[in-house]
Symmetry: D3
């Protein structure tokens, strides 16, 4: 189920907070990738893309020497070249940030290739360099040690865990200043539509609250007059 | 015991570090709320206000559905409307930042209502939006998931723990770039006065150290000539 | 084995990531001080200096009252005055950031004395003030409580652990935006030389990747034509 | 809603594992008190009783000296005398086992008073003595330091969190070798009845598996012939 | 590379401690599955078998309802029926023991099928029942909640991480009172032989130390006369 | 200040819980070694001895190969031969139990040499063998990996931290089923005397509570009639 352009655009305009509420309404409570933050302040729109996953296990010293990097079949290096443009690479680093999940050169390559973002529940090396790139990137903390010291890449595009969230290839990954959330692929269209509606109402509420209105009856709109005022507001704002 | 204007002003001019030392001298070693940081760089003065507390327990799925937000008796929503202007709302989130303690709309409402600040040992959603507000806010880390997923608000203005510190309603809460400290209500006046004195001496010391003086004899002032020079300095500076 | 000026300069131009790789090649996998970050964005060059260590154990209330600060023999205060210019002070705070390892006045004194940097696996108080100094500083997180509450300084310039890394006096300590790494003294010259070479190649690679080249064959250079092009590039760049 | 004798007896014969499954079917996923184990091997029946709660916050040195123990209004000491016979005392120790939640004398008093059990998400002192009592007791680990060092009891019989589970007074608390689970009061009867049925089938399954049958079709009973055989078995066993 | 009967027998007679030393000599430092212990006191011989792995990711509520257990293709249930006799089932539970990795019925089935042991870096439910079985079992702690609450089984017999150790299908897994270690398949024969030799010397040393000899020169045998005495001892003991 | 025979005998008869209370009365709140438990059930008397300390830092691969064990100057091996009979060896393993602090042969040697006990805030290998010895031993958990993998012994009989407690050589170390506590050397006599008195009263209280008396007025003895009855009891019991 491919991510449509319409849904991608809608998701760029909503927050992970709003998405988490929409998912919660459907009984999905564990879709947030816990403990990751953006390396640089997010831009005006959210990071959006389908998940392309990379799976690692703990390194084994006889397998994970420098030589492994020279092997074109190395799953980490292959993933960098194979992750589709527009996708988000999500790395299962087993929440271990003591060695790097990737570094500046690899993330630069992803940016050049048109990848939409990169997420690890470990850490990136060259973090200042990555922060200066345009590609959205999320990790737990900077981590200089070479990945081989702790991470053995095993395969790509299989279901993984990342930051205690389940991530299936093709799930829609959205990131903003609060972190990264995973929308199951089959729900992406309906969640995007609902979240866009919720966002309009939240923007209306924020404006009212700034103007001095109480949250009672407004958020949520238990006083229905607020819904009527919202409809007027939408027309005025063209939303 | 109400927080006097004089004490409030004094506390705005002292740091949590200095306050921790003044409390330490009285045998109080656990008043720092551990593990929380400001969402945005603090301004020129410290956050100061009496504690208005909110207590949560782990959520239970049958009690904590979306409907609970429509209930005017919901302790979280009531607390937002009832926290007094000038107070600091302190939320016991049981050090669990996997779901939000509050979000942008509620914190905006607190700002409009004149609340002095908000602190949780969990996390806030809409963290970029909150960081852009003028109200000081402190948390462990951003957290997008809806609060209902993990937090059940039970009551307000009761003694709580927050970040391993005891917080009684009416205690005086002070925050700066290092975090948040809790001054027991009955000590607020004397601690504020003592900390203001200490701050003057520390400012003097900093100036001397910048000028090349050794810390020996100066910090602490075991060489009494430094105290004499300090008195001269105070007069010059009008402090 | 003193740190030569040439090696110091070379190390200023390389990253902790590159150094970690050079150390990994020699079988050294645990030299990164885990979990520390700079208080302010690093400058154009890395922090470099020989380690001058300070060791702490948990505080004992009868030994660690305010009076201890008046004692010129207090190892913490002595270390501040004795750490050599050009050295990096490294504090073993047992990864406990619940009380401060040092504060603004002491770190200012280090800066005035020409010390190259300060690192703790605990936290600093007055963190905003320290962040505004020119001396590079690294910690786990801000921490206002007075050090006496948890830390008893026992001795200086002995081997310590810091952030799970072994640190021997005289080891060469290097810090950048990713954190801090410890280069064993006897390896400093050869590691610096090798890392400088690696950095030149990485800069070349980054430029090629920005220009659209795949990492295959380039990083690492399994396609030898890249090495030839690198030699041309070095001459052009004068590196 | 009082715990009936019939439900109490049924619950004595079922495991926390089976109860967790019955609760999971109703959407309740967080009722297990995480991280607590029995101090001594459980007996033939599970611990069962209605929750009588005790709430603590972090201690404050000026409030929590030895004198507080002489105060008959001290909530901890009162709770020991007021917890009803047949109830289970559940202590919110904020998952902090660095100081004791209670000790041998207090737990002995609970046993004499006919209390059904005691649970803390902290630790007990005098753990060997408590382990030798007949009253079921659960904690995270032994902890000798006096409770005053870290725990300030604030009130009893209010909703609390314990080991990340919500506990409301009157909820039914069940414990076995796997730990402790909390059944919401209004569900106790139906959960007990369902769990007793499930236990009968599980006992049948265990017997079949010991006899060599595959779990396929049997557990769960997707092959309905197993249900028929189960009915025969129940009659034979009188269950 | 199949595990030979000779190597299996040798490994039954050596400890995980001795194996860790033999692996350390070959540069392998991370083969111990950290944080797992046996549910019941180990017998006279170590658990030995080739790894048959099961991989899980975090559960997703819409995928992991009760219905999934009725699906014969469910990887967890299939693994129980497909794990070869003589093998050790090793489950990657992502070090999350808040829900069960398996329970009494499934482990009983493994025992009946002749499986050599079961290991998870999470927890088992029905822990008292499993402890009473003859099959060696290792986990982090008891955990009653149904596995579906947190664990989604994705595939079997792929490389996994377990307790921070890499585990490849066919690796030889050995367990004793200290926990579980993973011997890479291609090293099993030589490691077993070497460890058996080391064990003989350690047994000799233990006897000498019990008799009052210093460890100096004996352990390790820097005084060669000890090697000569060892040779005599071996002949006497027939080892 | 040597540990007198009288004090040693008194301490054998008191619990770590009672000692923690006596230390708390003197303002000492952090003397318990957190997180360690005995490898085997303690005997009738507590472990008592003066602290002989061993300090470790993180291992460095080039220094901590197998060869280091052949060096008679290795601080770990020397400590085993030099720890005085009657003392307790306390190892600062930096709370890292991922590799062993010591194993069966070394602990056997300590037992033969008459050492009173051994404590680490890491873990022991050969834990079943050590548990079967007569020497009291305490650790965080079993740990098979060779100590060289993580621990580099640097010196002996210096002040250390162990399990977040300060330990000075000569401090009196006491252990029972609850764990291990450190009594500062200069307080040992008075603490022992006071704790023995407290123990007598606690034994009296336990007997009264078993007989049905309320704790009110009895524990602590705010009703002075209990003190009178205690005096009678002491005479009867000869205590």
């Amino acid at each position: 189920m491919a991510l449509s352009d319409a849904t991608r655009e809608r998701l760029k305009g909503v927050s992970t907070a709003t998405l988490s509420t929409a998912l919660f309404k459907r009984g999905l409570r564990h879709q947030m990738i816990q403990g990751v933050l953006p390396l640089s302040p997010p831009g005006a729109t959210s990071m959006v893309g389908e998940a392309f996953t990379l799976r690692t296990i703990p390194a084994r010293e006889d397998l994970d020497g420098m030589a492994v990097l020279r092997d074109l079949a190395n799953p980490q290096r292959r993933a960098i070249e194979e992750c589709p443009p527009g996708a988000v690479m999500v790395i299962d680093s087993r929440k271990d940030a003591r060695a790097a999940s990737a570094g500046g050169i690899l993330v630069t390559r992803l940016q050049v290739r048109g990848v939409a973002g990169i997420v690890t529940d470990g850490g990136f090396r060259d973090s200042a360099e990555i922060a200066a790139l345009r590609i959205p990137s999320y990790h737990a903390r900077p981590s200089a040690p070479i990945s081989l010291a702790l991470h053995h890449a095993v395969d790509a595009n299989v279901p993984i865990g990342c930051g205690d969230a389940p991530v299936f290839p093709g799930d829609v990954v959205v990131g903003d200043a609060d972190g990264v959330i995973v929308v199951p692929a089959h729900l992406a269209d309906e969640i995007a539509a609902e979240a866009a509606e919720m966002t309009a109402y939240e923007d209306f509420v924020t404006e009212q609250v700034r103007g001095g209105q109480s949250i009672f009856g407004l958020y949520p709109p238990t006083d229905e007059s607020n819904l009527a005022r919202f409809e007027v507001w939408r027309k005025e704002k063209g939303r």
